[in-house]
């Protein structure tokens, strides 16, 4: 299936998590801390909240916990 990461289309296997699609798009900056430091996935299991991205306009979604859906639009570092 295809999802868009920061406007760029990537193809991932069905069942992949959004964090995988972001990595597949070559993006390592998922979000920024309150003081502007770069952040990306740490735990991979929904605990650390470091992997948050915008999915279809919705802020602060934990990308390691949400499976990709065909046509999804993902934005990092927003």
């Amino acid at each position: 299936m295809k999802v868009s990461v920061n406007g760029r289309e990537v193809t991932v296997a069905a069942g992949s998590m959004v964090s995988t699609a972001v990595a597949a798009a070559g993006v390592s900056l998922y979000r920024r801390s309150v003081t502007g430091e770069p952040r990306g996935p740490v735990c991979g299991m929904g605990i650390c909240f470091e992997c948050r991205v915008r999915i279809d306009g919705r802020e602060h979604c934990r990308s390691c916990q949400i499976p990709c859906v065909d046509g999804m639009e993902v934005r990092t570092d927003v």
Partner: protein
């Protein structure tokens, strides 16, 4: 024997801190006694809205004077105080509340507080996430928001703080839990909702509040939003109540409040009250449901029967001062409180008349709004 001070203050919340700062500025030797973190009581729990309130003439005088003092120092506050000059929007849901907007506007005009009436459309433009169909609002542009614990810490920057609990308080000084006695010319009880433990018999009761804060959603709200129905619910001195109050923070987070409850002495979240409060928020801002809350907690206001704080000497012991009972306004009114306490101690003309707040006052007849 221990050391001696001009002024010994029990309680390192924002009120004790403001008293300490003003006394020190008046040239007095000051010590503050605080067993916990500075600003860790109600000061950490509350919402940090700096606001002019008009319940009674004495409340107007105190909040107005305090807001002027905050405005005067806004440029010298450190960044971590997160001073945000966002203004208040008093939101009117219907025509009856809109009449209240006009009454408030006339009153504020009369005392020189800038205020502007917004019609339904301007309100929707100012805050697009409010539901449609609201009647209007009163914008008070010079109100603001601060992060209170850092403000308290800033006020205590040059002041000696003893990390011990006070176990006994009198006009002679403070006895600490470890047995040390701090002798003082004036002793101040600024322990907020805990004040009756050190000065039994004073009429201060705990009034619990629930709060929630969201993740960062910059621009979701841009003013402090308060429902005008708040006046009706906050005044009721018996029933538990909730009111819609949403504040923008410098971080982009949205701070949501609040509930009012007497008789609940545990800090635990009561889910029925929290749920009621959040439902009230959602009635005004349906899209709040899309946001993630990252923390919920409670705090205790120090409430008095006539809704005014107790500031000044107690009649039975003129060297023992109270500075407590600020209920839901102590962040705002900390500054005038500190100034008044210092004025009374050194014998200056008080910044505003002190009588309405003196502990020995005759309780002003209070009408339920």
């Amino acid at each position: 024997m221990g050391e001696s001070f001009d002024v010994a203050i029990a309680g390192g919340g924002i009120v004790g801190a403001a008293c300490a700062e003003e006394c020190r500025a008046a040239g007095l030797k000051v010590v503050v006694v605080e067993p916990g973190p500075v600003g860790g009581g109600a000061t950490a729990a509350g919402m940090g809205h700096i606001v002019v309130m008009d319940d009674s003439p004495a409340q107007i005088a105190l909040t107005r004077c305090s807001r002027d003092l905050w405005l005067a120092r806004r440029n010298s506050l450190p960044a971590n105080v997160e001073y945000l000059p966002c203004g208040t929007l008093w939101v009117a849901a219907d025509q009856e509340e809109l009449a209240e907007v006009h009454r408030k506007k006339a009153l504020y005009d009369g005392i020189g507080v800038r205020a502007e009436v917004l019609d339904a459309r301007s309100l929707a433009e100012a805050e697009p996430h409010l539901r449609s169909g609201l009647a209007g609002a009163l914008l008070v542009p010079d109100d603001s928001v601060v992060y209170p614990p850092c403000a308290a810490r800033h006020m205590l920057r040059d002041i000696e703080v003893r990390r011990e609990a006070a176990v006994q308080l009198s006009g002679q000084g403070i006895r600490l839990r470890d047995g040390t006695f701090l002798a003082a010319g004036i002793t101040v009880n600024a322990t907020g909702a805990w004040a009756p433990e050190l000065t039994p018999g004073i009429e201060v009761r705990k009034r619990k509040g629930h709060l929630a804060i969201t993740d960062r959603y910059p621009g979701f709200v841009t003013h402090v939003l308060v429902e005008l129905g708040y006046l009706k619910s906050a005044h009721s001195t018996t029933a538990d109540s909730v009111a819609f109050n949403a504040q923008p923070r410098r971080t982009g987070q949205v701070l949501l409040g609040s509930s009012r409850q007497f008789g609940s002495e545990t800090a635990a979240i009561e889910s029925h009250m929290l749920a009621r409060m959040l439902r009230r928020v959602r009635e005004y801002m349906p899209e709040i449901s899309e946001l993630t809350a990252i923390r919920t907690w409670t705090g205790f206001r120090a409430a008095t029967p006539d809704k005014l704080p107790l500031i000044g000497p107690v009649p039975a012991d003129p060297r023992l001062y109270l500075a407590t009972g600020h209920e839901g306004l102590g962040i705002t009114t900390s500054l005038a409180t500190g100034r008044l306490v210092a004025d009374l101690i050194v014998g200056r003309t008080p910044v505003i008349p002190a009588e309405p707040y003196l502990p020995g006052r005759q309780a002003e007849a209070h009408h339920e709004g």
